[in-house]
């Protein structure tokens, strides 16, 4: 009995001494056969399950693009719905490999959280939504208002900064989940609801009377939303980064989901490099030569993903704006694949 407990104790100690394998994310994913992706609990246009339980959205498409690049199968993704409160802990602990959850890129998140941002999926900004019946036309008229916000987000801090720098008072009502926040706003507990502008349009769709609510014109902050991976694994970091860049580069070069096979036969040197006919760029990332073809066949290029999820082809109908390509009036710019 005494010997057994001693052996057990030693085994426990040995187990606890094992280091976590952070530099092997790609290998772990290949062994597992799935990419573990953290998404939101239901933000239309970014990551939301439809009534059959299939996830759609621009953040979801980034995860599917990564899965397609690795496995040639965009369905090899395991989605984990995370609230704003526990998204970072899930990434830090290794529960997910990639956090694609409309998360704003800030300095403190890049450093203290032990994570890296791999790029910007969507350039956004924070705004306010109020009921039309309040007859408010600008966020500067919101002195002494009650504002509903989701807790643990940059939104809370930007809200505090905005009201302080404009010398206005306000009451903050902070909830853990996005659904409770929206419900409280709808019930009249708050005068205004604040989150990223894209979120405002998305949540307005979910309300009982979308026409009763208006989004105020002020954008009070910069919110570059992008995917996050853990510190300590440069290969995985490069892989996810270049999957997003490939989607943007493909749009720049005019390669779409439909014409990718045709473009693969082209003689143009740039197309040959991107689509894998020339060079071994895919293998340098730990993927295959046809990695961009796989991505485009699965989700299309950046423009197609945008249109399908948040743009003209979706109920949200948000204009490209800042998210257009750099040579079309926006700031989406990807380094060249060479």
């Amino acid at each position: 009995m005494k010997r057994a407990s001693l052996v057990l104790a030693l085994a426990l100690a040995a187990g606890f001494s094992a280091q976590s394998a952070t530099a092997q994310t790609l290998k772990t994913i290949k062994d597992r056969g799935m990419v573990a992706c953290g998404v939101s609990q239901g933000l239309p246009g970014f990551s939301a399950p439809d009534d059959k339980g299939n996830w759609t959205g621009i953040d979801v498409d980034v995860c599917r693009a990564v899965a397609a690049a690795i496995f040639n199968d965009p369905t090899k993704v395991k989605f984990l719905a995370l609230s704003a409160k526990d998204r970072f802990t899930a990434l830090q602990s290794g529960e997910i490999d990639l956090l694609s959850r409309n998360t704003t890129w800030t300095l403190s998140r890049d450093t203290t959280l032990g994570a890296n941002f791999t790029g910007v999926t969507y350039y956004d900004g924070q705004g306010f939504m109020v009921r039309k019946s309040l007859k408010v036309n600008s966020a500067l008229e919101l002195n002494s208002a009650s504002v509903c916000v989701q807790t643990g987000t940059t939104t809370e801090q930007n809200l505090a900064d905005f009201f302080k720098s404009n010398n206005m008072k306000y009451e903050v009502v902070a909830f853990a989940g996005a659904d409770e926040t929206v419900k409280a706003y709808e019930s009249g507990r708050c005068d205004a609801f604040t989150t990223d502008a894209s979120g405002l349009y998305a949540y307005r769709l979910k309300m009982t009377n979308p026409a009763d609510h208006v989004v105020l014109p002020e954008i009070i902050s910069k919110e570059p939303l992008g995917p996050m991976v853990r510190h300590g694994d440069d290969q995985w970091f490069d892989l996810v980064k270049w999957v997003l860049f490939a989607m943007v580069d493909a749009e720049e070069l005019g390669i779409t989901q439909r014409n990718v096979d045709e473009m693969a036969k082209s003689d143009k040197p740039e197309l040959k490099r991107v689509l894998g006919t020339d060079g071994n760029f895919g293998e340098q990332l730990g993927l295959t030569k046809d990695w961009v073809i796989r991505i485009l066949k699965a989700v299309g290029n950046y423009g197609e993903t945008f249109d399908r999820n948040v743009g003209a082809g979706s109920p949200l109908g948000i204009a490209r704006g800042l998210n257009a390509l750099w040579n079309k009036g926006g700031i989406q710019y990807a380094p060249p694949i060479r």
Partner: protein
């Protein structure tokens, strides 16, 4: 030479061996040392492993974040707080909010619990069935749903601030909360406060005099008219001489909300309602079992002395039942305190919501923050159960147990 019995030899070594090793002697002692060393090694290994992992991933560690600016506002704060205060102050604000809910909740839950338990034991058939129904209903529905129900019910029935219900033009009820005038102490409030303190001291002296009279001579002295007269009359008399002790700041509707006055937010009301009614149902069962544990003969003896049912319960049965009630009652108090962490679902800024929620998310230091939060809840629970143990001891002493 004396032939009487000698005192036994000192045997210090044997006594030491007994104390240190118990029945197993020196073997037992060495095994204990070994066990403690093993535990210490495992603990050290875990801590070292965590630290090295945090360092590899370059996640910030340490408690330095407590001096950083929080950068966000909190809805309700019992101490002055602004967004430029530190995370340490956020911690104190959240802690005070949790304690506020816990204290109010415990008070009302105990009240409801005792009333419902007595109702369930009442000979009145309808009252007993209704109390029983209350207990069964509230015990079996998860607390989170009850909290959400009360919040939506409270919010749903209240009007928006521009159409708030008002009392005397100074108290307003809307879905932003209950706004009451704030008392501001005017200069010269000290005499009135002193008069109040004197009145309280005099009432306590009256009470101990009446108890002494009761236990020594059996004479029942009614003191409540004097106590009420003192508590109201003396401060009133002082304020007549020295002037009113407070002036009131009347709230006014300005723009979206009320300016001035103090506000009780609907989240606090909903949370306290839900926690009190839910825990009250459990406390009712605890009290009922305590009362049933007292021998039926006590009740019969009381009524044979000519006491009413209420007087028997109050003076004879419940004091004896308290010994059985107090330990599980402590449990329920601790449960209520811990259940208050569900406040985050309705936006009440308690400790878990502002500290283990917002602050954790912003600083990313999950281990330190969760550790502090767990430590604080443990401390609150230990203090509560210490106070209840002390109360239990006092009752046990007066019962002659």
């Amino acid at each position: 030479m004396s032939i009487g019995p000698r005192p036994p030899p000192r045997q210090l070594a044997a006594k030491l061996r007994r104390v240190l090793g118990g029945g197993a002697g020196w073997n037992g002692f060495f095994l204990q040392v070994l066990f403690v060393a093993l535990l210490g090694w495992i603990a050290y290994d875990i801590v070292a492993n965590v630290r090295s992992n945090l360092e590899t991933q370059r996640i910030a560690a340490g408690f330095g974040f407590l001096t950083n600016n929080a950068g966000f506002d909190v809805n309700q704060s019992l101490i002055p707080y602004s967004q430029s205060d530190t995370y340490a102050r956020v911690f104190v604000v959240g802690l005070l909010n949790t304690l506020l809910v816990a204290i109010i909740g415990i008070f009302f839950a105990t009240l409801i619990g005792f009333l419902v338990a007595l109702g369930r034991l009442s000979p009145n058939w309808l009252l007993a069935r209704i109390s029983g129904g209350y207990v069964e209903l509230l015990r079996n529905i998860p607390l989170l749903f009850q909290i959400l129900f009360w919040y939506l019910a409270v919010l749903g029935t209240l009007p928006p601030p521009r159409q708030s219900v008002s009392l005397f033009g100074a108290i307003f009820l809307s879905n932003r909360g209950l706004v009451v005038p704030t008392p501001i102490p005017t200069p010269g409030w000290e005499p009135v406060a002193l008069a109040l303190l004197i009145a309280i001291a005099a009432s306590l002296m009256f009470r101990s005099y009446a108890r002494r009279q009761l236990f020594q001579t059996g004479r029942l002295v009614t003191i409540w008219p004097y106590v009420v007269g003192l508590l109201i009359g003396l401060p009133l008399f002082a304020s007549l001489i020295f002037g009113a002790p407070v002036s009131f700041e009347i709230p006014q509707l300005k723009g979206f909300n009320f300016a001035g006055g103090s506000r009780i937010i609907p989240e606090l009301v909903a949370l306290t309602l839900a926690l009190s009614t839910y825990t009250g149902a459990f406390i009712a069962e605890v009290v009922r079992s305590g009362i049933l544990a007292v021998h039926k003969g006590q009740m019969e003896a009381g009524s044979s002395l000519g006491l009413t049912r209420g007087a028997t319960l109050r003076l004879i049965v419940v004091p004896q039942a308290m010994r059985v009630i107090l330990p599980p009652l402590t449990n329920q108090y601790l449960n209520l305190t811990k259940n208050s962490s569900l406040a985050v679902a309705i936006g009440y800024p308690d400790l878990v919501s502002v500290f283990a929620g917002t602050s954790l998310n912003q600083t990313g230091q999950a281990i330190e923050i969760i550790g502090i939060t767990m430590g604080v809840y443990l401390l609150i629970s230990l203090v509560t159960s210490a106070m209840m143990s002390f109360y239990n001891w006092r009752i046990g002493r007066s019962m002659g147990a």
